[in-house]
């Protein structure tokens, strides 16, 4: 133990063993996964994220949402993720194929978001949650992201004068002038906190409009779902039901009835996508025709 080269070699061996055993083996086992073809729907899993959702992933990363929210459903027996309706099956490597960075999360200071797109498909609820979470949950501990929104003068029934958003404010505005007094009070507090000096607009009517960042972020949240049964993560079989699930509140959601769907056997023969490198069936907002943008 007095020879420096021996110590160096020993430390090198120790570091190399963990590097090869973890990083290199993980790369061999999981680093070359590709989309798998689902027999049932002839679609590919996971679907690629279209434009606004991919930009939304950048917003999610830049705001540091990963510091409070996880995006992984734990297996049965390790926590109450299933009982809380956070997923129908545990998340596996296949679910994160298109993510960069993979934002698994380390602490849960809020609900898990791996399936939030399935649990809360209503974009308005997401916008409200971001603007002021206390609008949806009275004692929420989540900070408000009102800086992702803009306040525009004028009631919702008429577009903001001189605004290029004339065509879209009708569906994007959240709070028409004659709103619930509790909502008005909360919004007033937040406007005051942000020192919006135009809060005198409250008399004339105002609209709160999400910025492009907020829209992209909500598009990303709506794209978050990982409930497709896979070979390595089968959904436990239960009696099949045909009912489409109702939109659930953000915080506590009922467990959706699981359907018995044959698990994909693709790992034996993963199929390369034929036409395009990504999912040939467009999903998500990209499949919407272009709306007039502000």
């Amino acid at each position: 133990m007095n020879r420096a080269w021996l110590i160096v070699v020993g430390a090198w061996v120790g570091l190399a063993s963990s590097f090869c055993g973890l990083v290199l083996v993980a790369q061999l086992q999981l680093g070359r996964l590709t989309q798998v073809k689902l027999e049932l729907t002839d679609s590919f899993y996971p679907p690629s994220r279209p434009g606004p959702a991919r930009r939304g992933a950048e917003v999610y990363r830049a705001l540091g949402c990963v510091e409070c929210h996880t995006q992984q459903v734990r297996p049965r027996g390790q926590g109450s993720d299933f009982e809380r309706g956070w997923g129908q099956r545990r998340t596996v490597a296949q679910d994160y194929l298109h993510d960069y960075p993979v934002l698994l999360g380390t602490v849960r200071l809020g609900p898990d978001l791996a399936n939030i797109g399935a649990r809360q498909p209503d974009p308005d609820a997401h916008f409200k949650q971001l603007y002021n979470p206390r609008l949806l949950t009275e004692k929420s501990m989540m900070p408000s992201y009102a800086f992702l929104f803009e306040t525009v003068a004028g009631p919702a029934s008429s577009p903001a004068p001189g605004s290029a958003r004339a065509g879209t404010t009708a569906d994007l505005s959240l709070f028409p002038a004659a709103a619930d007094p509790r909502v008005e009070r909360l919004v007033e507090q937040d406007l005051h906190l942000q020192r919006v000096t135009r809060f005198r607009l409250m008399q004339a009517g105002y609209q709160v409009v999400p910025t492009v960042e907020a829209q992209d972020l909500v598009a990303y949240l709506l794209s978050l779902r990982s409930d497709t049964p896979l070979f390595e993560a089968p959904v436990p079989s239960r009696p099949a039901t045909d009912a489409a699930p109702a939109a659930a509140p953000a915080n506590s959601s009922p467990v959706r009835p699981a359907t018995s769907v044959p698990a994909n056997r693709a790992p034996a023969t993963p199929v390369e996508p034929q036409a395009a490198p990504t999912n040939p069936i467009p999903t998500g907002p990209q499949s919407r025709p272009a709306r007039p943008r502000p």
Partner: protein
């Protein structure tokens, strides 16, 4: 209880050092560097280490290493709570497909982004499917055409006017898939129209083989209600 040191690698004797100007505030003779006695490791610590190594090997072998399993050692598809590949295979659900489930999955992947869950649609943008007269026609010819090639321009649904563009799914869904998703839409959310068969879709696809453009409302209305 400590045993006597056997041999020592004591550092250089302090008397050999040149005396430096050690500041009084630091106190002790700073020239002296620490050295370690050569006592052996207590036997019980070796025993602890050996016990931990044995436990480690048993634990990994039981939880995930799957030595001797069908998929080889350290299989990459075996996730918690499964301990082995055999347990994973045993937990696969039996194959059983209902066409309505297939239709629902196709709807969620392809139609839900615009027409929203429950076929509500977005006022002013995307027409609703729940209770829509275009969806519930007895013969689905117009509906199949709409899905295959899309629609552009104004259309009235349930008394409300929409003016937008829907692209067609002719190249993206095969006959069976179109039939499944249309059957699903026609049986959900209060709709009660007969299912669509793949043969009906195939017949419409052949009849409109040379059409590329989306339909307009007047064109669709001009199509006779045939099969």
């Amino acid at each position: 209880m400590s045993s006597k040191p056997k041999k020592s690698d004591a550092p250089l004797h302090p008397a050999r050092w040149p005396t430096g100007t050690a500041t009084g505030a630091i106190g002790m003779a700073d020239e002296l560097e620490p050295w370690a006695e050569a006592r052996p490791v207590p036997a019980w610590l070796y025993g602890l280490l050996a016990g931990l190594v044995i436990w480690a090997m048993v634990y990994v072998a039981r939880h995930g290493a799957d030595v001797g399993g069908q998929a080889g050692p350290f299989p990459s598809q075996v996730y918690d709570p499964f301990d082995s590949y055999a347990a994973l295979v045993a937990a696969q659900p039996p194959p059983e497909v209902s066409p309505v489930i297939k239709g629902r999955l196709l709807y969620e992947r392809n139609c839900q982004p615009c027409h929203l869950p429950n076929g509500r649609g977005v006022p002013g943008q995307f027409p609703p499917l729940a209770g829509a007269e275009w969806v519930q026609e007895q013969t689905p010819g117009r509906l199949i055409r709409l899905v295959l090639h899309g629609l552009s321009g104004p259309i009235t649904v349930k008394g409300e006017r929409f003016d937008n563009v829907m692209f067609g799914f002719r190249d993206l869904l095969n006959d069976e898939q179109v039939a499944a998703v249309l059957s699903f839409i026609r049986s959900q959310w209060g709709n009660a129209a007969p299912a669509v068969t793949p043969q009906q879709v195939q017949r419409v696809r052949a009849a409109t083989a040379d059409r590329d453009l989306p339909w307009t409302e007047s064109e669709l209305a001009a199509i006779p209600t045939e099969d």
